[in-house]
């Protein structure tokens, strides 16, 4: 027993090393597997507060870019106003009289922490469950899609960015509506994504727009990027192509969280279908 104690005190550095290393590895493995659902993250009070202060300073530096994008978005919205359409038939007037039920609602949020140079990137935004944000909602910016919400606190939320190897969204080619999925490239380039699993019938052209398909969290037709290389990887069963993202992730300032009002209904319906399938198999 005494010898053991002497042994431990003599090599105390090694034993301390083992103890601390194991505890930090436990933290690493445990919390990273659950999408950072922990207080050691940038959504906690201290770091969140510090980040928003520093952000206040950064905001001044990018005022010009933000103004430009706001002006562009304003112009876009103005184009969609009823007053900017010429109503030429009775039929059309009838359509405008119809009361639509709103399916998608947008919640504006500000980016208070952002990463884009790691393999798994996340964004923190300043809106949370109190503002109606829930896990699984899509996030877009004025330029295109950004990612999806993976973690929510009352006042903040973590967004799994498009620049994350877990991210995979259903998209389509603008011209012939061929469906595929978009994911990040293996080279970890913050401007490039990979569109995979496109049917071989599709005839994509260079520079063709890639839009969301409506099968994912986003409304149909939101910009994702442009096709920039038609043959990045040969030898695959289906077509794949390189896409340049429309969003510049390093300059992200304001985003919109998409709340699909029918999501619960759709999920319930699809769960019912699955249940039926299982029952008929037995």
């Amino acid at each position: 027993m005494r010898n053991l104690l002497i042994f431990i005190t003599k090599y105390n550095a090694f034993f301390l090393f083992v103890i601390f290393e194991i505890s930090s590895l436990i933290i690493y493995v445990k919390y990273n597997a659950f999408q950072k659902a922990t207080f050691i993250s940038s959504a906690n009070d201290v770091t969140g507060n510090l980040y928003s202060r520093i952000n206040g300073f950064y905001d001044y530096l990018s005022l010009k870019d933000v103004n430009d994008s706001l002006a562009r978005e304003n112009a876009n919205l103005r184009n969609q106003l009823k007053s900017s359409f010429y109503i030429d038939t009775l039929a059309k007037r009838k359509v405008t009289d119809t009361i639509y039920k709103q399916q998608y609602e947008y919640i504006t949020a500000k980016v208070i922490n952002n990463s884009f140079n790691r393999s798994y990137n996340y964004i923190t935004i300043n809106r949370g469950s109190k503002d109606g944000i829930a896990v699984g909602m899509g996030v877009i910016s004025s330029a295109g899609i950004v990612g999806k919400v993976v973690n929510v606190t009352p006042h903040m939320a973590n967004v799994q960015s498009m620049l994350n190897k877990y991210s995979r969204f259903s998209v389509m080619l603008a011209k012939n509506k061929e469906i595929g999925s978009i994911q990040w490239t293996d080279e970890l380039d913050q401007h490039k994504g990979m569109l995979v699993d496109v049917s071989t019938n599709a005839q994509p052209t260079l520079g063709e727009a890639v839009l969301t398909s409506g099968y994912s969290l986003f409304p149909e037709g939101i910009m994702v990027g442009k096709v920039s290389n038609l043959h990045p990887k040969d030898g695959a069963v289906s077509l794949n192509m390189e896409v340049t993202f429309a969003v510049d992730f390093s300059k992200l300032q304001y985003v919109n969280v998409v709340d699909n009002k029918f999501q619960n209904e759709q999920d319930a319906l699809e769960a019912l279908q699955k249940k039926d399938d299982q029952n008929s198999n037995h």
Binding site: A13, F14, L16, F20, S24, I27, V29, N32, N117, R118
Partner: protein
């Protein structure tokens, strides 16, 4: 004693601040990201007890993790760094004969010793950090090039910092 503690607290705050709000945004050629904050652990005094050294390294790592959203990643790399530091110092430095609580700085220990010290410790820390972050072998080439370029960048910044705070003739 109190002076040493104050200096180290200031050093900790400044290095974490620089790391989180300045160096975090630097990403040369999509490869090199410097992690200068480990300089805090490197510059702790020689006679610090091992337990305190490991606790400080662990806490430094956790602080950086909180800002980087990677709980445990930097903490484990820093604990490894502390262990390598203990080994390196026990091999290269005689414990006796220090007058006034010297620290392993560039100005006290000389350029050659400090360069070896910084390079060895940075390589261990960065290698562990990058391989743990990637966690699989499929992008081994990319991970290795990130590791090498980031290490060079970090050591360069350490030397610049060391020369910036160079004080002449502390050790006769």
């Amino acid at each position: 004693m109190i002076r040493t503690v104050t200096i180290n607290i200031i050093r900790f705050v400044v290095l974490v601040f620089i790391q989180v709000f300045l160096l975090k945004n630097i990403n040369l050629y999509n490869l090199a990201t410097p992690y200068l904050y480990i300089l805090f652990i490197l510059l702790l005094p020689f006679e610090i007890p091992n337990l305190l050294l490991f606790v400080l390294a662990f806490l430094t790592g956790l602080t950086i993790d909180a800002f980087y959203d990677t709980p445990g990643l930097h903490a484990s790399a820093c604990v490894l760094l502390a262990f390598v530091r203990v080994l390196f110092i026990s091999i290269t430095v005689q414990k006796e004969g220090f007058d006034n609580e010297p620290e392993p700085t560039l100005s006290i220990m000389g350029f050659r010793w400090f360069l070896t010290y910084a390079v060895v410790l940075t390589l261990f820390h960065h290698f562990f950090l990058f391989s743990l972050e990637a966690f699989h072998l499929s992008e081994i080439q990319y991970t290795l090039s990130r590791f090498v370029s980031s290490s060079i960048f970090t050591v360069f910044l350490m030397l610049v910092t060391g020369l910036l705070f160079f004080r002449k003739k502390e050790r006769k």
